[in-house]
């Protein structure tokens, strides 16, 4: 009896597995990925990368790995690019 019940439970699990894969085709589907998504995504990734790099730069200066001139030159370059990227992400911010 237990064996039959376990077998039926296993069969239901397999049916559930198939249902998981088929069900989305029977629905109207979720929100489509917007056409400008790739560009925006790239900019967001770059923004995060630049912020990360600025923080790393601060830590490098704090631990004596960068001279003051190098620090200022690199930081200015990074911040200028970061502001540019943020303006591209949200034109209203410009």
């Amino acid at each position: 009896m237990t064996g039959v019940l376990l077998t039926l439970a296993g069969l239901w699990l397999l049916l559930g597995a198939v249902w998981l894969a088929v069900y989305p085709l029977l629905t109207r589907g979720g929100r489509a990925i917007p056409a400008d998504a790739p560009d925006r995504r790239d900019l967001e990734v770059e923004k995060a990368r630049l912020v990360a790099e600025i923080h790393e730069l601060d830590l490098d200066r704090a631990t004596g790995k960068l001279s003051e001139e190098d620090y200022r030159a690199i930081e200015q370059r990074l911040k200028a690019r970061a502001v540019e990227v943020m303006r591209e992400i949200d034109p209203r911010r410009g």
């Binding site: 069969l11 699990l13 198939v18 069900y23 989305p24 589907g29 830590l59 911010r93």
Partner: protein, 678 residues
């Protein structure tokens, strides 16, 4: 109807769903069709459910001694402990393929669930690649290595698992190694998705950074467990024999280490895009190659218990994987150009590039030595093997150069470092290097490798200590905190950086342990009860043997009393050591040695019972003194801790205005903190 007859339908359904997901993922991703993408994602979960059901059924069959299943009957027996029965599921080809599929299905579910919203353009293709890989493993189990084959009769008992595998380290080693091996599937899948979509910037790197660390972590743990198993179970006194299967497990580790360092260059500088694609492909391909070596038996190995003729199917799959990756890379070559150039030779990028070359050099040397018998046979018709001396000679200089680089990298800034900062940062560590080297030479270390390990290891520890101290001091100033609070805050807010340094500390200790192997002392003798012998700083007395009954074996146990020279009569001093020889009657009628180890901080006393004469009571005993070996396991543990620290980096969102609000030029040193991630 037998519940185990659900096994084959579960595998078949999983195979169909995996192929379905592989097709729909690519089509849906290309058309950006949410219904097709949803179905592909659903198929990932559905396939995982099928694999989980199959794995659950097989485990239940092992635990309940269901010997009608041929695989169960040949890999377990009634007398085995329940824990080993559960571990015996992956003791053979069929079960280990199922474990591989289970781990891959689990990773695929997690990857899809975590990244579906964060990387919506990459996930459909990554899911498709993961499903295609899973389809391969399911096809192997459906058509060839079938775990659910039923016998026409029910045997009274099984033949049992190879006794060498009945060890708790061996029970944990394969799952950990598989978590590491299979873990490279996710970075590989995202890399291929990046090639397919042409999105080859930082997005895929951001997606796979932690996945690579997870795979690397488990590979580290798996290799450590495997070497510990070899040390305590194989009874030859060493921890690494340069066996082809061991080599196959360590090659992806070296390539993975190179990848983890080089993706940082792509993240920060947009460089090495092609190189990173090549490295992640190599890491994944090496995991398949490792399976080919383990399963094909083309090269003689102590892991011969796992050899079958299925290896060549893996070779075909490996060719397909590498061919696809090369074709996609060729197609996208124009998008793989670097966004910037190396600004200075004295920069962290350049240190990382050297580190990459050394890591790959070591991986290549291991590959060459491992496959040389195969290559020489193909080229000349004669099978020529290279042994441990080849691997040691080639890898020793490369590895000490790597050890030196571990110390150089952390104190050089990204982009460029001025001469003045270099002088200031290297002054103290170079002094430590000189003092440690001189002290080691004066203390009698005259082997170049040991001298280099001491000097370069001290140098590396000094640079890390300097880094930590400077960071702590900066935080003490900026936060007006005490040293302990500042140190904790520094590490907590910069986990990736300080986790990495912790790993490097662990590596230095592992090097110290490996260098200890140069000073091993070994003696063998036939001893009658009451006889004494000496080895290294130890005196040993043999007191006779006992016969003991285990759950599924009979053991002959030698009683040895061990003490430091002259300490045999000191109260509390002598240590009792009991090496064994075990006889397993079930199935294979195999005899194994169980060594006894007295582990101390600076040396292990390792005793092996090689043989026993019942009439005279004499025992053939081998005693080995292994200096520093404990530090391999301690260093490995510290490496794992460092990886966990790096992995615990929280995913921070970029605050609006985080950059815009900042002034255009430098203010006084900002509090060092964790970089934001996407």
């Amino acid at each position: 109807m037998n519940v185990y007859s659900l096994g084959p339908p579960a595998l078949w359904t999983g195979l169909v769903l995996a192929l379905y997901g592989a097709v729909l993922g690519h089509v849906g991703g290309r058309r950006r069709d949410p219904r097709l993408i949803g179905a592909a994602v659903g198929s990932v979960y559905g396939t995982a459910a099928c694999v989980l059901l199959a794995y659950g059924l097989l485990t239940a069959a092992f635990l309940t001694d269901e010997f009608r299943l041929a695989y169960v009957a040949t890999h377990t027996s009634r007398a085995m402990l329940p824990g080993y029965k559960a571990a015996a599921v992956w003791g053979g080809m069929e079960g280990s393929m199922l474990l591989w599929a289970l781990v891959l299905a689990g990773y695929a579910c997690l990857a899809v669930a975590i990244h579906r919203r964060r990387q919506p353009l990459l996930v459909p293709h990554a899911a498709a690649i993961l499903q295609a890989i899973l389809a391969f493993f399911l096809a192997v189990m459906v058509f060839s290595a079938r775990p659910f084959v039923m016998l026409d009769f029910t045997p009274a008992d099984g033949t049992g698992l190879n006794p060498l595998l009945q060890n708790h380290w061996m029970a944990a080693h394969p799952p950990s190694l598989y978590l590491g091996y299979v873990g490279w599937s996710v970075p590989f899948a995202f890399a291929m998705a990046a090639l397919i979509t042409g999105r080859l910037g930082s997005e895929w790197i951001a997606a796979i950074r932690k996945w690579s660390l997870v795979a690397f972590l488990f590979l580290t743990v798996g290799n450590l467990m495997g070497s510990h198993w070899a040390y305590i179970e194989l009874g030859w006194g060493g921890f690494w024999g340069w066996d082809p299967v061991e080599n196959s497990a360590i090659m992806p580790w070296f390539v993975g280490a190179a990848f983890i360092h080089s993706i940082m260059i792509q993240e920060k500088r947009g460089m090495l895009k092609l190189w990173n694609i090549a490295l992640v492909t190599a890491a994944f391909a090496l995991t398949i190659l490792g399976t080919f070596v383990t399963r094909s038996g083309i090269i003689e190995s102590v892991h011969a218990f796992a050899s079958t003729d299925i290896g060549f199917v893996f070779l075909g799959f490996l060719t397909l994987v590498v061919g696809t990756a090369v074709a996609l890379t060729w197609w996208r070559a124009d998008l793989l150009a670097s966004e910037s150039r190396l600004e200075s030779f004295a920069s962290r990028e350049s240190a990382f590039l050297f580190n990459n070359l050394l890591l790959l050099g070591i991986a290549f040397a291991i590959w060459w030595g491992t496959f040389f018998p195969f290559i020489s046979e193909a080229a000349t018709g004669q099978r020529v093997s290279v042994g441990a001396p080849f691997f040691n000679q080639v890898n020793a200089p490369l590895s000490v150069a790597l050890l030196l680089l571990l110390g150089i990298g952390p104190v050089i800034a990204w982009r460029r470092a001025s001469r003045r900062t270099l002088e200031r940062n290297f002054r103290m560590p170079l002094a430590v290097l000189g003092i440690a080297g001189a002290a080691a030479a004066l203390l009698g270390l005259h082997t170049w490798y040991a001298l280099a390990v001491v000097a370069f290891g001290a140098f590396t520890l000094a640079t890390i200590a300097q880094e930590v101290w400077r960071g702590t001091r900066a935080r003490m100033r900026s936060k007006d905190a005490g040293p302990a609070a500042a140190l904790v805050g520094l590490v907590a807010k910069n986990r990736r950086r300080y986790g990495g340094y912790t790993v490097h500390v662990g590596v230095v200790l592992v090097f110290a342990g490996i260098a200890g192997a140069l000073f091993v002392t070994e003696r063998s003798a036939r001893l009658v009860p009451g006889a004494e012998m000496s080895v290294g700083p130890f005196d040993v007395v043999y007191r006779g043997t006992d016969i003991e009954q285990g759950p599924n074996y009979t053991a002959t146990v030698a009683n040895l009393t061990v003490a430091e020279r002259g300490g045999m009569d000191r109260p509390g001093e002598p240590m009792r050591m009991r090496p064994e020889r075990r006889f397993y009657p079930a199935g294979q009628e195999q005899v194994t040695t169980e060594v006894a180890i007295w582990s101390r901080p600076f040396e292990d006393m390792y005793a092996i019972l090689e043989g026993y004469d019942a009439t005279s009571g004499a025992a053939d005993v081998t005693l080995i003194v292994n200096p520093m070996i404990l530090w391999i396991w301690i260093g490995g543990g510290i490496m794992v801790l460092g990886m966990l620290i790096a992995l615990s980096t929280p995913r921070l969102r970029v605050r609006r205005g985080a950059v815009a609000a900042a002034p255009p030029v430098a203010k006084p040193a900002a509090e060092p903190r964790e970089p934001a991630r996407v």
